[in-house]
């Protein structure tokens, strides 16, 4: 199956998710790990679409998500860079583009190593908190923890 750039943009406007996970990780200097990911989840009947996306971006993995759901997932920074460059060239048309820009900012800060110190991490958490996909109460606690520490 061949996917066109416009189809990929339309499908991502519908089904794509730009998410920034922030996980407790005591071994890291700032105490937290930043895990940005781009995912598209489908019922297993459409698993071939997920593999087509993997071929399209030449990056990412297809994994079982929950039950009969599968996910195409990109986590590696070098792969996220490719995904970001694609959506810079072919912008999303829905308000998901707002989340995309915040996501891109987080990835850029990580590429600069800013997530490794507390100041940069705080900046990232504030951006993540402001995303549509955010778990705000959990991120509020991270902010409190970082400001208290």
């Amino acid at each position: 199956m061949q996917l066109s750039p416009d189809w990929v943009v339309g499908f991502t406007d519908g089904e794509g998710c730009f998410f920034v996970g922030i996980q407790r990780h005591p071994e890291m200097t700032a105490g937290y790990q930043v895990l940005p990911e781009f995912t598209i989840v489908q019922h297993e009947r459409d698993i071939q679409i997920l593999y087509a996306l993997k071929r399209f971006f030449r990056c990412g993995v297809v994994r079982q998500n929950h039950g009969d759901r599968y996910a195409y997932r990109v986590r590696k920074l070098s792969c996220l860079r490719k995904v970001i460059e694609f959506f810079e060239k072919h912008p999303l048309k829905t308000k998901k583009n707002v989340d995309f820009r915040k996501f891109r900012r987080v990835v850029m800060l990580m590429e600069q190593g800013k997530h490794l110190d507390k100041g940069g991490l705080l900046e990232i958490v504030e951006i993540a908190k402001d995303m549509n996909t955010a778990n705000r109460p959990a991120l509020e606690k991270v902010v409190e923890f970082l400001k208290a520490g």
Copy 2:
């Protein structure tokens, strides 16, 4: 906002719904009304996408759905014909295409007036029952009713 055909296909693969409603309607000869509809539902933040779809197909309406959700909806047979011709020319890539073909079959039968007699209606209900979007238990009851009558 300008939409391209491929974007519309990708977005519909993600968010579109081909649905065949069958409603009790005692005034109709066969006792039921067939209501095929093509819908795309979005959060109100993306209402401009729904209006762009309406302009793209030159058909359909944008209406509030539930709460903060809005729907682009096509119900008129002449408009569904336009939508069908578009997706014949630009096929969906997900398994939603299977539902689309069943939906198209129902619309064709209606264009031929087959929904107005019991035999045609039964055929339509059997197709609708087999769709991914179907409320199977309700449609089973319609079949029982038609076969008993």
